[in-house]
């Protein structure tokens, strides 16, 4: 593969602390596509938890740090999360509406930022020859990816491109899983009831795996499946693809 220049991989805090396997899978796929991967020095969190909770001063403090880190780098910024991407692409503009200098920096970063499936699908990700033993895979479109960024075709095309994988639909596939970050902490019962509805649909779909592009949803879904005694495995899309390349 000819070298395609460098890119910045923002692992996201959930991948970094809870599920580095997904980050490694992302990195291996991006390398295979010919990119020189950098993980920006000093990257922490995008500030979304504080932002969504309404603590915008706190969120701005974190977001400024993230902008400091990212503006010092070059190349595309790849983020393996729909919700963190949406934060960088759409919400920073809102957060810095009354702060023109930061807003300008945020626009620059937003322009470079791509969610994982979006970036990979645009750079030949469907033609890397991933193959797996026959299995049925259900895809959970995370809300910020689907409705925030409007990305729907790309992850599904990537799933379909893996030999041996049969995508299985399920009822109300595009409905939220009830995670919502702090929502699931502040309103755990409402969240759990939404999760019940989602998992009931997934469990009758006949899926062997449940795949998504957001660690938040995946941790929620995985924790729910485990509590319900299900054997359906959850994976980030990058892990499924990476497994097919091993």
């Amino acid at each position: 593969v000819p070298p395609r220049g460098q890119l910045q991989l923002v692992p996201t805090c959930l991948v970094n602390e809870f599920h580095p396997d997904a980050g490694m899978a992302v990195a291996r796929i991006l390398e295979r596509l010919g990119f020189d991967i950098h993980v920006p020095d000093g990257i922490t969190c995008c500030g979304q938890p504080a932002y969504n909770a309404g603590f915008h001063d706190d969120a701005r403090q974190v977001a400024r740090h993230t902008l400091d880190v990212l503006t010092a780098t070059e190349g595309p910024i790849v983020v393996p999360s729909g919700s963190c991407s949406d934060m960088l692409v759409h919400q920073y503009g809102e957060l810095f509406r009354d702060h023109p200098a930061d807003a300008e920096r945020a626009r620059g970063v937003a322009g470079r930022c791509r969610e994982f499936s979006q970036f990979v699908a645009a750079h030949g990700g469907t033609e890397i020859g991933a193959r797996l033993a026959p299995m049925r895979v259900a895809y959970h479109p995370s809300c910020h990816l689907l409705r925030g960024l409007g990305i729907s075709r790309e992850p599904q095309a990537l799933i379909r491109s893996i030999e041996g994988v049969e995508p299985v639909p399920f009822a109300e596939q595009e409905e939220c899983c009830g995670f919502g970050g702090l929502f699931s902490i502040k309103n755990p019962e409402i969240s759990a009831s939404m999760l019940d509805r989602k998992l009931a649909a997934v469990m009758v779909s006949g899926a062997d795996r449940l795949v998504s592009c957001d660690l938040g949803c995946l941790l929620h879904l995985a924790g729910g499946l485990r509590r319900r005694g299900s054997t359906i495995a959850t994976q980030h899309l990058a892990e499924l693809m990476d497994e097919g390349l091993a």
């Binding site: 692992p11 991948v15 970094n16 602390e17 809870f18 599920h19 580095p20 980050g23 490694m24 990195a27 993980v39 020095d41 000093g42 990257i43 922490t44 969190c45 500030g47 938890p49 504080a50 969504n52 909770a53 309404g54 603590f55 915008h56 706190d58 969120a59 403090q61 974190v62 740090h65 809102e94 809300c143 910020h144 689907l146 409705r147 925030g148 595009e174 939220c176 009830g178 995670f179 919502g180 702090l182 929502f183 699931s184 902490i185 502040k186 309103n187 755990p188 019962e189 409402i190 969240s191 759990a192 009831s193 939404m194 999760l195 019940d196 995985a222 924790g223 729910g224 485990r226 509590r227």
Partner: protein, 469 residues
């Protein structure tokens, strides 16, 4: 600490009957909506035009209201301005008293729910009958509506059969046709006896002072033609500029609300009975209600005044579908209610409503006027943080998070502690009972323990190994 909202939500979640009823109706309406939207070739462009017209109108609402009032007066209607709900009620009671009215027949009106008009009229010794089938049943049950267009979405047909059997002394049935017939017979008498009709308005057309009402039962037409006095109670945001705009809004409203191309009855009212008319009221009064709307207009959520009350966001909302309308604690439920209620009543007593959302955006997708509901929910969360008490653990936690997350070394150290603490509680990599804020989480799902080694550490090791080879 369990708040009033959480207590109501919990009760709703435990109510199996409610879920059956909610599931049936919201899924059906959602499906009908998407089919109906597909039946309009240029849905997206109609949506864009409608949004543009409404947002422009709101920018010059004062001018539009003055023009609308002039047209109404030219048409022979009488115009009243109500700053508050109490003002609106007082005005309407006065109109009724002066006209010697003893019985009022009402069409469906969310504005009258908002002002609690029925209680005010009854307090003045006037009998009020709701004539919309759903609202009639709500009144019969001494209940409150739980959906903007389907007031009894929380009831099954079996519930209604039992209620009618008990309150109307008719044979029990769970056949909706039979139940509707029971109500229809009773309501027919009421239409003929009522001296005053009260309705809301779906739209008011600025260019010619037309009041537009849509119904599927025809009760709107009866209420506005049979009684000798007609009172329209409408929010000041209900205006559309022209008849051409009205056409667009009607297309959007019917499709978004019930999945129809057009509601069964579209009533256009332009003043009282004229010489030579066979029917119609002698007097038409239009009460224009502010009740907090100008406050909303001046703030971050002004956009919500573009809402045409179709209810599509309720049917699409996974939270509404889980907790139903009553849990929202006021007249307007669902995503729109989570914005309108704090706007009209103040954030102080409704600070949790904007938080009762995962920001999934399903509401924004189906909104015929493309209102950015998630953006407004976020704005209100910010307002709630500024103006109301927040759990100290959350406030302190986020403050600490911000301080730490903007200092990479401190962040790494703090995360390391977090990982160690959580990993110590884990068995086989999973935590099944977490303490403190996360206790609710682990009540119904396991929590994956953090990794022993972060991605960054693994990445560095991987890089070093590869560079060495």
């Amino acid at each position: 600490m369990t708040t009033a909202f959480q207590a109501r939500a919990r009760a709703a979640i435990g109510n199996h009957q409610l879920h059956v009823a909610l599931d049936r109706t919201t899924a059906l309406l959602g499906l009908r909506r998407s089919t109906a939207v597909g039946s309009l070739d240029d849905f997206e462009s109609v949506r864009s035009h409608a949004r543009h017209a409404k947002m422009e109108l709101l920018r010059h609402l004062g001018d539009s209201l003055r023009a609308f009032e002039e047209r109404l007066l030219e048409n022979g209607a009488q115009v009243h301005w109500a700053d508050t709900g109490a003002d609106a009620n007082r005005i309407i009671v006065e109109i009724a008293t002066r006209a010697g009215v003893r019985r009022v027949a009402k069409g469906k009106s969310m504005a009258s729910e908002e002002t609690h008009l029925n209680e005010a009229l009854e307090h003045a010794g006037i009998t009020v009958i709701e004539t919309d089938l759903g609202e009639y049943i709500v009144q019969l049950a001494n209940d409150r509506p739980s959906h903007i267009i389907m007031p009894i979405v929380h009831m099954t047909k079996e519930d209604v059969g039992l209620l009618m059997h008990e309150r109307m002394h008719v044979p029990y049935s769970d056949d909706t046709q039979v139940l509707a017939q029971y109500a229809r017979e009773r309501l027919r008498e009421e239409f003929l006896r009522a001296e005053m009709g009260v309705t809301g308005a779906n739209f008011g057309v600025v260019e010619n002072g037309t009041i537009c009402l849509v119904t599927n039962e025809g009760n709107g037409r009866m209420v506005t033609t049979l009684p000798r006095v007609h009172v329209v109670l409408m929010g000041i945001e209900k205006l559309v500029p022209t008849m051409a705009d009205l056409d667009r809004f009607l297309k959007l409203l019917a499709r978004s609300a019930t999945g129809q191309k057009l509601t069964a009855y579209t009533t256009l009212i332009r003043g009282p009975r004229r010489a030579g008319d066979d029917c119609g009221p002698e007097d038409v009064h239009v009460v224009l209600l502010d009740n907090g709307r100008t406050t909303i207009l001046a703030g971050e959520t002004a956009e919500i005044l573009g809402c045409i009350r179709c209810g599509a966001c309720l049917n699409a909302c996974p939270v509404y579908r889980t907790i139903g309308g009553h849990a929202y604690g006021d007249v307007y439920p669902g995503p729109v209610g989570a914005i309108v209620t704090p706007g009209l009543r103040g954030i102080a007593h409704h600070a949790e409503l904007p938080g009762a959302s995962t920001l999934c955006g399903a509401c924004r997708d189906v909104c015929p006027v493309r209102l950015d509901i998630p953006r407004m929910l976020l704005a209100l969360r910010q307002e709630a943080v500024k103006e109301t008490a927040q759990p100290i653990a959350l406030r302190a936690g986020l403050k600490a998070f911000a301080a730490i997350a903007s200092r990479p070394r401190a962040y790494r150290a703090a995360m390391k502690v977090m990982r160690r603490v959580l990993r110590a509680r884990a068995t086989d990599g999973w935590i099944s009972r977490a303490p403190g804020l996360a206790a609710g989480w682990t009540a119904s799902r396991d929590l994956k323990a953090p990794a022993a080694q972060t991605f960054e550490d693994r990445w560095r090791a991987y890089r070093a190994q590869r560079d060495a080879s």
